[in-house]
C-alpha cells in the first residue's frame, strides 16, 4: 500500500482543463511536482489536499479514498498543505500561530518547531508585521505544527532570495532526514532537485515524466517542455 496514490485526477475550470488525468504514486520520501507556468501544479496540489474537488479520478492516502474529503479531514489524517502565497494568522503572534494546532492532535512542540524553522527570536511578534522571508518560514512552521505525515509544500521558496531559499531548503532537508515526507511543487527546479528523490513533471495539465531525479534530465519530453528542444544538452 502506497502512502499517497493519485489516479486519473482531472480538474477543469470552465473549458480549461488544468489537470488532465494525472496519476502517480508516492514511493519516496520527497517528491517534486514540477512544470512550467500554467502546467497545473498548484491545482493538482490543491486537489490532493481537498481544497478543490476533482472532476474525475481518485486520491488515496494510506489506501483510503480521500477524494471528496474536506481539507480539515485530510489534514487530520496526516496530509497537510502549505500555501504558495503565505497565509499567516496575522493578528496572532508567531507562537500563537503554532499553538492554534495544540490539542487538535495532541500537544504541539512549539519550541522545537520554532527552532527547526529558525523563528525562535520572533516567537512573540505579531505575524502581520513580519517580513516576507520570515512569513515563508512561518508557513512551513504552521505545516509542521499540524503534525503531518506528508507535507504538501506549494512553492516554498518562491519569492525568496537565493540565500533565504538555501536556508529554507536546508531546513526541509533536515526535516526529510527526521522522517517528514513531502511533496513539493516548485518552479525553481535546480534548487529543489537536490532534496527530492522522485520527480513528476507536468505540462499543460498532463504528466510528461514520472521517475527518479537522475532520469529527469535525460527524458526527451522534459527537455522539450523545459528547453524547447530534445537535442539541447544539460
Amino acid at each position: 500500500m502506497e502512502l499517497l496514490e493519485v489516479s486519473n485526477l482531472t480538474r477543469s475550470f470552465g473549458g480549461n482543463v488544468a489537470v488532465d488525468s494525472v496519476s502517480f504514486r508516492m514511493t519516496s520520501d520527497a517528491l517534486a511536482i514540477v512544470g512550467p507556468n500554467g502546467a497545473g501544479k498548484t491545482t493538482l496540489l490543491s486537489t490532493i489536499a481537498g481544497v478543490l474537488h476533482p472532476d474525475h479520478g481518485t486520491v488515496r492516502f494510506r489506501g483510503r479514498d480521500v477524494t471528496r474529503f474536506p481539507p480539515w479531514r485530510i489534514a487530520r489524517l496526516g496530509m497537510v498543505k502549505t500555501y504558495q502565497i503565505v497565509r499567516p494568522f496575522r493578528s496572532l503572534t508567531v507562537e500563537e500561530n503554532l499553538k492554534l494546532f495544540d490539542k487538535i492532535r495532541g500537544r504541539v512542540d512549539v519550541d522545537r518547531i520554532l527552532g527547526v524553522t529558525g523563528l525562535s527570536e520572533v516567537r512573540g511578534q505579531v505575524a502581520g508585521v513580519l517580513p516576507f522571508g520570515l512569513l515563508k518560514r512561518l508557513e512551513l512552521a504552521k505545516g509542521l505544527a499540524a503534525k503531518p505525515e506528508v507535507l504538501l509544500l506549494d512553492e516554498p521558496i518562491s519569492g525568496l532570495s537565493r540565500s533565504e531559499a538555501r536556508d529554507l531548503l536546508e531546513s526541509l532537508l533536515e526535516l526529510k532526514r527526521s522522517g517528514v515526507r513531502m511533496v513539493l511543487v516548485e518552479h525553481r527546479l535546480s534548487e529543489i532537485l537536490p532534496i527530492v528523490d522522485r520527480v513528476v513533471a507536468l505540462d499543460r495539465g498532463r504528466t510528461i515524466f514520472d521517475g527518479t531525479r537522475s532520469e529527469f534530465f535525460q527524458d526527451p519530453a522534459v527537455r522539450k517542455a523545459y528547453l524547447g528542444s530534445e537535442d539541447v544538452g544539460n
Binding site: 492554534l100 519550541d111 522545537r112 527526521s178
Partner: protein, 352 residues
C-alpha cells in the same frame, strides 16, 4: 537558516483516538486545560481596569438609586452585555451577526410568558430560563446558517429579527399567547440602584467568562477564523463547531439580557425585537475596538450615557451625531480605543 534545536521525528503526526466519544473527550480536556492555563490572565491590567470601571459606575449609580443617572447606567449595563456578546461572537470571528435583536426579543417574551404562567418565579430564575432558551435558539439558528460564509451569513442574520419576529408572533397567536405584550412583570430590583448592582455583577461574570475563553485555545481558533478560516481548515481544524459554540453562547447571553430589559421596564413586547438592540452594541464595539472585549466596557458607558443626556436636547438628531462620530472614529482610530491603550501599557512595561 539558523536552527536552535535539532529536528526530530516527533514533528510527525501521532495517531489519536477518533469517533464522537474521542472528540468529546478531547473537547472536555481542551476546555479544562484552557481554564487552568488562563486563570493567571485575570491579573491583566486591562481586565482589572474594566472591572474597576464597572465597580465605580455601580457605586456611583447606587448612591442615587432612583435618579435618571442610575437609570442611564442600568441601560448602559444592558447594552454592554449585548456588546460583549456581539464582540465575543462576531468581533472575534469576523462573522457579522445582525440577528442579535431576535434573541433579545425572545428573551423578553419568554420572560413575559413564564411570569404569566407562574407569577411566583423570581427575576433571577426568569433570566436564567431565558438564557437557556437563548442557548437553544442560538444553537438551532447556528447549525444551518454558520455553514454560510461572510456576507451570506450576515445577510441571513439581518433577516432573522425581521422574519423571526413575525414567525414567533404568529406562533404565539396559534398558541393563544399574548401578542399585545406582557405588562406587570416583576422588577429586577427594588430601585435602579439595585438593578444596576445586579446587572454590573452579571457583566463582571460575562466579561470574565468571555475573557477566559478569548485567552484559551478556543479563543485562538476564533481569532484564527477571523484572520483566515480556509488556512485553518487546510491544517486540520474544523472551524464549524467553534463558530457554533461561540454564537450559541452569545445568543444565550443576549436572551438573558432581553429578560433583564423586560424586568427593568416590567413590560415585554415586540419592541424588544427593535433594531436599536443591534445598532448600539455595534457602535459600542466600534468605539471600544473589535475583538477586544474590554472596549465594550469602556465604550459602553460613554456611548449610552452620552446618548441619554444628548437625546433630550437633540432628539432624533442624536443618532446622526453618533453615526458621524462613529465614521470619524473608524477613519482615525480604526481599531478602537483599547488597542492604543494596550500598546501604551506594553510600552510602559517593556519600553517597546
Amino acid at each position: 537558516m539558523p536552527t536552535d534545536t535539532a529536528p526530530s521525528s516527533d514533528l510527525r503526526r501521532r495517531p489519536v483516538g477518533g469517533g464522537i466519544a474521542g472528540a468529546l473527550r478531547r473537547g472536555a480536556r481542551s476546555f479544562a486545560g484552557s481554564a487552568r492555563l488562563n486563570a493567571s490572565r485575570l491579573t491583566s491590567p486591562l481586565y482589572l481596569g474594566a472591572l474597576g470601571v464597572i465597580i465605580v459606575f455601580a457605586y456611583l449609580g447606587s448612591g442615587n438609586p432612583t435618579s435618571f443617572f442610575a437609570l442611564s447606567l442600568v441601560l448602559s449595563s444592558i447594552y454592554i452585555t449585548l456588546a460583549l456578546a456581539w464582540d465575543f461572537s462576531s468581533g472575534m470571528t469576523g462573522y457579522l451577526n445582525f440577528g442579535l435583536p431576535f434573541f433579545f426579543g425572545v428573551g423578553a417574551l419568554v420572560t413575559g410568558q413564564l411570569y404569566a404562567t407562574d407569577s411566583h418565579l423570581t427575576p433571577s430564575s426568569l433570566a436564567f430560563f431565558s438564557f437557556g432558551v437563548g442557548l437553544l435558539g442560538g444553537f438551532l439558528f447556528s447549525l444551518p446558517t454558520l455553514r454560510l460564509r461572510g456576507p451570506y451569513f450576515s445577510l441571513l442574520s439581518f433577516l432573522l429579527p425581521l422574519i423571526g419576529a413575525d414567525f414567533i408572533l404568529a406562533f404565539w397567536t396559534q398558541l393563544g399567547l399574548r401578542t399585545q405584550g406582557y405588562y406587570g412583570l416583576p422588577f429586577l430590583g427594588a430601585t435602579y440602584g439595585d438593578e444596576l448592582v445586579l446587572l454590573s455583577a452579571a457583566n463582571v461574570a460575562i466579561l470574565t467568562a468571555f475573557f477566559l475563553l478569548r485567552e484559551s485555545h478556543f479563543g485562538l481558533v476564533l481569532r484564527g477564523i477571523r484572520d483566515d478560516e480556509d488556512a485553518l481548515g487546510s491544517q486540520g481544524i474544523r472551524t464549524f463547531p467553534y463558530k457554533v459554540v461561540a454564537f450559541t453562547l452569545a445568543s444565550g447571553v443576549v436572551a438573558f439580557s432581553g429578560a433583564t430589559y423586560a424586568m427593568v421596564y416590567t413590560f415585554a413586547g415586540v419592541d424588544a425585537f427593535g433594531f436599536a438592540f443591534i445598532l448600539f452594541p455595534i457602535l459600542i464595539v466600534i468605539v471600544g475596538g473589535t475583538g477586544e472585549l474590554f472596549g465594550s466596557i469602556f465604550a459602553g458607558y460613554v456611548v449610552i450615557l452620552l446618548y441619554q443626556y444628548l437625546f433630550p436636547t437633540f432628539s432624533d438628531l442624536t443618532l446622526i451625531i453618533f453615526a458621524s462620530a462613529a465614521i470619524l472614529l473608524v477613519l482615525f482610530i480604526p481599531h478602537g480605543l483599547v488597542r492604543p491603550l494596550r500598546a501604551f501599557i506594553r510600552f510602559m512595561r517593556t519600553g517597546e
